[in-house]
Subunit: 211 residues, 2 copies
């Protein structure tokens, strides 16, 4: 996934010559805590946050140019950068949003922490059930009931918890991937559990074929 | 994971009687775009954002009580709620942060989108290599080279791409889980690929044992 796929293209921007009051109203109305400052060609020339605006209003500053951060101090990403670079930059510099430029240095979007939370959390909300359904399709010749039985056996072996196949099925219908990772103790452990289940059903299938 | 494990306990707060100017300075200095308003017992009574502050300054409002959202309109979570509830509330209501209360209704923390991005992105940054190492440990009697060979075969079958075992190993040493998911086309597909690899090495192991 590239930066351009997660960026907000409907971003707001202000001009250096605009008044601090005007910038404040635009940011209030569009509910943006930060906004890029651009020239007439949409080239990035600065950046303001609500902190610059409240300080500017308190100190009686007039123009955006008096309160903005200049271009040299602004972290930005390129539209074709991998999306995770924007996540890393935001995480590393503790930003709320980061401007996106194209090859010509024109501002084409803004990536906001909010958009990232939505993108990342979507994956966390995938139901574990869906992963098992994909597994059932992949493990040809293994029935759903066999898969649930093997899952209950592996869970009992690993956790000592006396869970039945029916209980296991009920559990994965409710649980999300995020919950599963947090309850098994991490991504690798979750996957290893699934691999163990895959091995067990495959072994049973082989044993059955030999009979 | 619970809300209290991801919340910021070093949050700022303001009182209803404080001036809008004072609130602005606190928020600027501590770089918070939002802040809870509390009473003397640290009970949540309101919420202000930088938008309330800039509007208040522009309109000459004096006290925090004149610009704040009242308690009834504030989305909040409980400290013992699952962390993902905070993520869902933030995502659903398009918030930047959400206050956390305890059983007594006392404000004990604030969950910010920034903290969530850090928590969620950590998982995305897990190296795929670590998942395969965990898989090697689980698949007893299968060597690392056999695992890489099987992985290259499965990749060739699925994508048509002529990758060798060595190239595959190099690739997973570099790749993160986030990249792997985005390049395979989703969580289920990534996992199904792993199951296919697990099946192939198991089949080879069984065939070898029969010889």
């Amino acid at each position: 996934m590239k930066v351009k796929e997660i960026m907000d293209k409907e971003f707001i921007s202000v001009l250096e010559d605009q008044s601090v009051e005007e910038a404040a109203v635009i940011m209030e109305n569009r509910k943006k805590f930060t906004t890029p400052v651009v020239d007439e060609d949409k080239r990035l020339v600065g950046w303001i946050t609500s902190f610059n605006v409240t300080k500017g209003l308190r100190e009686g500053k007039h123009k955006v140019s008096e309160i903005m951060h200049s271009k040299d101090n602004i972290v930005h990403v390129h539209e074709n950068n991998p999306a995770r670079l924007a996540v890393l930059e935001i995480s590393h510099h503790k930003l709320i949003s980061v401007p996106v430029l194209n090859n010509e240095g024109i501002l084409v979007g803004v990536v906001r922490t909010f958009d990232i939370v939505q993108t990342l959390s979507k994956m966390y909300e995938v139901k574990v059930y869906k992963i098992f359904k994909a597994m059932e399709q992949e493990l040809k010749g293994v029935s759903w009931d066999e898969l649930m039985e093997a899952s209950a056996i592996v869970t009992r072996r690993r956790t000592g918890e006396m869970v039945t196949a029916e209980e296991y099925e009920f559990r994965i219908k409710e649980a999300t991937f995020g919950e599963a990772i947090w309850s098994t103790g991490g991504l690798e452990k979750f996957f290893v559990g699934l691999i163990a289940i895959g091995q067990l059903v495959t072994a049973k299938k082989v044993a059955r074929a030999r009979k």
